[in-house]
Structure formats: C-alpha cells, structure tokens
C-alpha cells in the first residue's frame, strides 16, 4: 500500500495514521513532496459515501462505551 493517502486538505500517512496539512513549513509535508518527486503516487481521497449499491443497514447500538 502507498505510504500516503490524499485527503481533502493534505495527506494521511497510512503507516503512522497522521494527518499532514499542506503547509510548506511542515517537515512531514516536505517529506511527502520529496516522496512524490521520487515518482511515487498517493492513494486517492477516501470517498465519504459509497456510490450506488446497497446501503449498509445500520444497527441500533445499546452499548454505551466510555461515556
């Protein structure tokens, strides 16, 4: 899997789960740009909703965790 996935305002590091903003002064963004320049390609933005097909039926949850 690619090291990065595009988000709406930057990228997500798929290995660390960190969200990296598009800021030229952010070292992680610089590292991402360097990774891009090496010919790598990030994963596409994860869509918010599934297009078409069946919608997963949601179950009512009774558990109250960590409230």
């Amino acid at each position: 899997m690619a090291k990065y996935r595009l988000t709406e305002s930057g990228v997500k590091n798929t290995e660390t789960t960190a969200f990296i903003p598009e800021d030229e002064n952010n070292n992680d963004w610089k590292e991402y740009k360097k990774w891009l320049n090496e010919g790598n390609k990030p994963l596409k933005v994860k869509s918010k909703a599934k297009k078409g097909g069946k919608t997963k039926k949601l179950k009512k949850t009774k558990k109250k965790k960590n409230v």
Partner: protein, 376 residues
C-alpha cells in the same frame, strides 16, 4: 549614561555681527536645540531628578538587571529543553533510530558507514544529576558497535538566518558513568561549516565542553549536538546535564527557566492532549477532548469538534488521533472505540476532527486524544 555634548557648539552662544543674518539665525537655532537637549537629557551625574540621566542611572542602581547589573535575567539560550526537564513523548527510548525524537527538541542522527551502529538508549535519569537539577539525560550505551561513522544527539534551532554573521558558542555539561575513551565530538553546525571540538575521554566528574562557530552570512540551518564518531572503549552511560547555545564567544552559566516556560517553548513544536507523564497511545480517558449529548434522535450521525491548541506552533502541525483505548488514527464515539477519525482545517493554532458513528444511537459522543507535531 554618557551625555557628552560638543562644547564647541554648546558654547557658541553669541552670534557675531560679521556673518549674514541667515547664518546667524541657523547658528542660533542650533544653539537652542542643544540647550533644549541638555535640559531634557541632563549631564553625566546630573542631580536634576527630572533629567533622563538621573532617572536611568537610578534604575541601574536599583533595578534587577539595569545597565549596572551583572548577570541579568535575560534568557540567552537559543535551545529549548535546555536541562532535559521536558519529556512529552516518553522518558525511555530504546535504541532510537535515525531522526527519532527523544526528550523534547532532541533527535538522533546516525551513519553506520559500513559498520555496526552502537546500541544506545536515551533516558530521563533522576539519580545522576547535579544538585541544582531534578534530572539529566542518560545516553546508555549497551553495545559499542563497530566501525561506524557517527551516532549524533542533535537539536535544531528555528530561524537560523537571525544569527547570520554572528559568533555563537555552544556548551555541554557532561560526564560518564565510568572512565571511557573514544572519539567524542561537540559541535554547532550552520549548514555550511562543521568544526567540532573533539575529546578523547570522559570521566565520572561533570565537565563543560564548548564549541564556537562564526555563523555564515547565509546559514541554511542551525543545529548543535554531541556525537560518537568512533567505537567507545566500553559500554557505559554518558550523562548530559544541560546544553546551551548562545551569541558571543564566551560560554556563560545556565540561567534556569521556569518549568512552565520551558514547556511552552517545547509546545511550539510538539503538543498532546494527554497529561504530562502520560504518553501517546495510553489507554485513558483523562485529558481526552470530548463532546457528549444524550437523548437525541435515534440515528447514525457525524460529529465534528474544533481543537484550539494552547500554544501557536511553528507551522500547521501533523496531527495524529488516538481513541481512548490507545488505537492510533481512531476516535471514540457512541458506538465505541476504534472508529476512523478525520482531521482537517489544520492551522498553526488548531484543527478540526470529524467522525461518523456507523450505527444508530441516541447518544452523541466524540472523544479522542491528539498529538500535534511541527518540528524545526
């Protein structure tokens, strides 16, 4: 305060008749200006309490760091976490690799150079420090390695161009758990010149090592550190009490900072929601950002929360979320832990977190921890 006015001008009080009217008036204007300045500023040792000379001299005598003070209270160290009092990420780092941050501000850089790097653990130590400190930093060498190029312990300073053309001096307070020989270097680096001070032995007494550098007129970075540039004679621990980088060619003693100030300096580059002493990924509700509402429409839902950071960071930070069970990239919602969280609208003083519950519920809950990082 030195207020020596040119007497030649000051005494030029009478305008003679053998000059033109224009010149005479110009000279008179000059004389009146000097008289007015003298009245306002005062002479050296002036006893007029309204004069600047009297007021400033008085402050110098009575104030804590006026012109006549010696040490002063100005914080002159360019480094953060100067005495290793802040360890936000952890207090023990077992053999951290290249570019891994340890105590706040300090990271590792290595070059095996075809050999084997030493095994060095970086730890907060609370037993070997000097009496006026509560801790020191321990570099615990458990394997000396072989034929490696270097192992470095660095800190990078923000805004290197401010120091262009200046002379800086770095000082390291250091000792070892046993007498040890090797190739140890302390250095300050401006991205162009690397002229370290080399020592070949360390012993069990605290000593101060220094290294001076004339910063280039166009520095590309400013970094200082301690390094092993060869295999040490034995496994042992090396202790660092403080590191200081200051302008000038004379190393001065360390001026203590308030604990809160030191933490704020560190938070410009690293912040977390966890309590100090609790480290990212811990299973805890304490310190978590939370919103909760009960008895609302029974439905699936998306929630959002804006986090305002307590200290403005160097740049928009990289943000990692954790649910309260310690899972990274996740948040806790009404349906439980381990729900994907999203971060957007990241700026230097905050960001927004969103999550979708994934199931119908009558509670609304959004709870998470965060770590925000913006390194130099």
């Amino acid at each position: 305060m030195a207020t020596v006015f040119p007497t030649a001008i000051d005494n030029f009080g009478s305008v003679t008749d053998n000059v033109t009217d224009v010149l005479a008036e110009q000279l008179n204007e000059l004389r009146r200006a000097v008289e007015a300045l003298e009245t306002k500023v005062g002479y050296d040792g002036d006893t007029n309490v309204d004069s600047h000379d009297y007021r400033i001299t008085d402050v110098g005598i009575q104030g804590p760091q006026g012109p006549q003070g010696s040490a002063g209270i100005t914080d002159d160290n360019l480094l953060i976490n100067q005495d290793f009092s802040v360890w936000q990420e952890n207090t023990t780092f077992n053999n951290p690799g290249i570019y891994v941050y340890t105590a706040d501000g300090y990271y590792i850089e290595t070059n095996a150079g075809g050999g084997t790097l030493p095994t060095i653990n970086v730890k907060k130590n609370t037993s070997e420090q000097e009496t006026e400190f509560e801790q020191c930093c321990e570099l615990e060498i458990t394997n000396v390695g072989s034929s490696f190029n270097y192992w470095r312990f660095n800190q990078r300073v923000e805004g290197c161009k401010k120091y262009a053309g200046k002379t800086l001096i770095g000082s390291w307070r250091i000792k070892a758990s046993t007498s040890i020989t090797g190739n140890f270097k302390v250095w300050v680096y401006d991205g162009i010149t690397y002229t370290p001070t080399t020592v070949t032995s360390l012993n069990t007494s605290w000593q101060t090592l220094t290294n001076s550098i004339g910063i280039d007129n166009s520095p590309t970075e400013l970094r200082m550190g301690f390094s092993l540039n060869g295999v040490p004679s034995t496994t042992c621990s090396i202790y660092l009490q403080f590191i200081k980088l200051e302008i000038g060619s004379d190393a001065t003693s360390l001026i203590p900072r308030k604990t809160a100030d030191e933490l704020r300096l560190c938070q410009r580059y690293y912040q977390k929601s966890y309590a100090q002493g609790t480290f990212p990924g811990a299973v805890t509700n304490n310190g978590a950002i939370e919103d909760y509402t009960s008895n609302v429409n029974n439905s699936d839902h998306t929630e959002r929360k804006v986090v305002k950071l307590p200290v403005v960071m160097k740049a928009a930070p990289t943000v990692t979320l954790y649910d309260v069970a310690g899972n990274s990239g996740k948040i806790t919602m009404a349906a439980g832990d381990n729900i994907n969280g999203t971060v957007d609208r990241i700026v230097d003083n905050g960001f927004r977190v969103s999550g979708t519950n994934g199931a119908a519920a009558t509670d609304r809950l959004l709870k998470f921890h965060y770590v925000a990082v913006s390194r130099v």
